[in-house]
């Protein structure tokens, strides 16, 4: 493993599988009565979240605590960031207190790379702008493999806001590295140019994307990024791209439906699909803890020479 996990691109295919296999072992710890191992005793992990997050931050905190790390989360809304301190200065000040790892969520793409250059601590990217969200893609791969026993050769349809999604980017990198047949589908206003160069099929037809799919992954319509007029209305979006039972019926009979959360019910996904028998959305959340434990454990080791 490299020093930091900034994106899926930092991992080889073998390292992705190493994370998934390690996560299998980590998951068992969460099923014990005493959900804790002493592995990261004496290590300090700082969670620095510049964007609101419930799932990812809670997941990292639980993972850190289950490995016995000393952990704290900096509430940015009540910090010196409000007084105008730059990200780099905040990071250097935290760094001066000698943490071992920093988990960073930031609205700017590449924020993790900035910290990586100026910090000695290991940096884990917990989502940077429209760039990457590597631990999400790893927990998605883990969840897919758990249900399908493989990833290679599966048809995975990823549907939604392709332009602004870091979840999409990380998933494309990991799923294509693992040999899946990835279809990206969304309205033409939300398809970034050059997406097909990443080795995925790009389509604006949801029927084409969903047909015989083994996995359907819905992306959130990010209303906070909707200052441009990308879709005429949320209702029209639902009619054209929303995942409904009728559309799910065209996928494989054992399809699984995924969503990284938070969901907009009635926008990208119908409630009966989100809560239905094909949905593995809450399993993704559960698996997130095990996958993040695996990442924390693997990054806590030595750095391999490049």
């Amino acid at each position: 493993m490299k020093k930091d996990l900034l994106g899926i691109g930092d991992l080889t295919r073998d390292e992705i599988y190493l994370v998934l296999d390690t996560a299998e072992a980590m998951r068992e710890i969460g099923q014990r009565e005493i959900k804790k191992v002493p592995t990261l005793r004496g290590k300090t992990v700082v969670n620095l979240f510049y964007e609101p997050s419930t799932r990812t931050r809670t997941s990292f905190e639980i993972a850190e605590k289950r490995l016995s790390a000393d952990t704290l989360s900096v509430p940015v809304s009540a910090s010196s960031v409000l007084k105008g301190e730059t990200l780099a200065d905040t990071a250097l000040n935290i760094e001066a207190m000698a943490p071992d790892m920093i988990v960073l969520r930031h609205a700017s793409s590449g924020a993790g790379h900035l910290l990586s250059r100026i910090c000695r601590s290991r940096i884990i990217n917990a989502g940077d702008g429209m760039h990457e969200h590597p631990t999400q893609a790893l927990l998605d791969a883990f969840t897919i493999r758990e249900h399908k026993q493989r990833i290679e050769g599966l048809k995975v349809a990823i549907v939604g806001d392709l332009a602004h999604s870091r979840v999409l980017r990380s998933n494309i990198l990991s799923l294509t590295a693992l040999g899946a047949d990835v279809w990206a589908c969304g309205p033409s206003t939300l398809v970034p140019p050059g997406l097909d160069r990443f080795g995925v099929h790009v389509t604006t037809s949801i029927d084409e994307a969903v047909a015989d799919a083994d996995v359907i992954m819905m992306l959130r319509i990010q209303q906070e990024r909707m200052d441009g007029a990308f879709v005429p209305s949320l209702r029209e979006y639902f009619n054209t791209f929303g995942m409904t039972s009728a559309r799910v019926a065209h996928a494989k009979p054992d399809v699984i439906i995924m969503h990284p959360g938070p969901m907009n019910r009635g926008v990208e996904i119908a409630s009966d699909v989100a809560d239905g028998p094909y949905s593995v959305i809450l399993e993704q959340v559960a698996n997130g803890v095990a996958v993040r434990m695996a990442v924390l454990y693997l990054l806590a080791g030595g750095v391999e020479a490049d």
Binding site: P38, G301, E304
Partner: protein, 177 residues
Amino acid sequence: MPVVMDAERMGRSLARIAHEILERNRGIEELAFVGIRTRGVPLAKRLAHTIGEMQKADVPTGALDITLYRDDLMRHAVGAQPLVRRTEIPFSIDDKRILLVDDVLYTGRTIRAALDALIEFGRPKAIQLVVLVDRGHRELPIKADYVGKNLPTSLSQSVHVHLVETDGRDEVEIKDS
């Protein structure tokens, strides 16, 4: 490299240990085996099977991975982390007599880690240690209750246990490095 235990000898040693376990524990009601990964697991299964056959009953058997409890885990600045594998103890260890099984007893550090790990699963009535080979050179105050073979070694030698389940043959070798 000399073979110090062949398949026949290994079979006899395990059979003897099975009898010793029964004699010392006066029955199997409270017994359960926990093998330490990797090669403690097949050894634990063999012993559980032998005792189960003799007593016409099933003896619960689990697998323990001690990697996350190692005392040298975060002390090396270089190199990748050791592989973590699944711990599978599908029964309550509370009030059981746990037979902890490993292939080679050496410094005792693996057993120390295993004891720490086991205690987190509950409060067994007793833990007894079974090893196929005791090669000496203890660094911690740990002693086996059942030993297949005591094997005097020097620190420069290494002991290799091969089992049918993991390596295709039953054999213990000693190598000079």
